[in-house]
Amino acid sequence: MQGKLDNLIVQMINENQETLKNNWLNEVNIFKEKELAGAITTLKLSEEIDQQFFELLIKHINYHDISKDGTLDQFFDQVLHTGLPLRYLTQGLQAARRVILNLLVETESDKEKLAAVYREIDRWLDPILNRVVENSSQIWERTVSIQKTALLELSAPLIPVFQNISVMPLIGSIDTERAKLIMENLLNGVIKYRSEVVLIDITGVPVVDTMVAHHIIQAADAVRLLGSTCILVGIRPEIAQTIVSLGIDLSQFPTKSTLQKGMENALEITNQQLISNK
């Protein structure tokens, strides 16, 4: 029974392809004007993509199978990769459902048959919709996780500069995850490079609150336990004021305003000197 009905629908859709297409294009255009107006991506929403979208849908109605030959998946991927919003695809599919149902409602008056038609269409379209949403969320998840690792990679490098002197420049906000990484890299690096002095540069840290200060103090303490000295540099005047207001005690280790001053201090501690070669 079901298969027969399905064929009937397919036949009807094929016969009325032109009308459906025009109705669908109308709906999509209305959506594009209303929702995507002003977006930069509007330029890329060419008629070509619309045509391709609809043709693929019709093609897949004839296949009775959405995953067949993968052209629909490819198309979705392609659309999402060009930076078109996911809304374009979901709205497009919903519009397809609407125009097809409208057509069928016009030609079919028997209630029972109509209900069956509704179910049939849903059964065909819902997996496609799910597929689209799944694909796009996968793309996003992948992007986010790639960026997260990229961020962690440049998170807290320890750079050996002179013999026994290393620098750790910190840039950006420090959260718990980064704080752990800072501690690990710092201690591993101190052993690896046999650093006597480590300079932690916080010029690029926008806010030093009690949590950040606490982590820096702990890191400096741990470095001290390894027998090395930690110098905190790059303290901007406004940061100095907020640290004082917060009542944070940083007197246990030396601090300097700039990396340059810290470096001079570090050279002194390690009994080294920079000599100009004239």
């Binding site: 009690t210 200060a213 606490h214 005047p237 406004e238 004021q241 907020t242 207001s245 917060l246 944070i248």
Partner: protein
């Protein structure tokens, strides 16, 4: 009163966005560099407290104008466990999480006005104001 802007605090990244909102509003109102740093640090402390102790809540920031006296108010709201001993948390060095214990007393010193209301098992509301000089 002016429009209030709020940021929901649910994870560590929300602390950053609350801070950014505060910094932008402070800049717009004409606060100097040092006061901007004070305000953002205070927001950071309050937002972190919400994240650490209540799990979720929100930070609202509003510009205020009282008879020509301009300023910025930060309101931190949560429905967390509340604070049992307010007097104690306002002491320097008191902490239940192993931190420095400088957060709330620090916020009070960073800002010009400070008030805290908390009911156990109901939630906490902290409001702090900085005046534009």
């Amino acid at each position: 009163m002016d429009i209030q802007s709020c940021v929901e605090v649910r994870n560590e990244w929300d602390i950053v966005s609350a801070r950014q909102l505060g910094r932008n509003m402070a800049k717009e109102l004409g606060f100097g560099n040092v006061d901007q740093a004070r305000i953002t640090t205070a927001i950071s402390e309050l937002a972190r407290n919400i994240y650490l102790y209540a799990g979720r809540g929100k930070i609202c920031i509003e510009p205020i104008d009282q008879l020509g006296k301009k300023g910025l108010r930060i309101i931190a709201l949560d429905n967390g466990p509340g604070i049992r001993e307010i007097r104690k948390v306002m002491e320097d060095g008191y902490t239940t999480s192993g931190g420095l214990g400088a957060g709330l007393p620090g916020v009070k010193r960073l800002m010009d006005e400070f008030s805290i209301e908390s009911t156990v098992d109901v939630g906490t509301e902290i409001s702090a104001t900085k005046w534009l000089r």
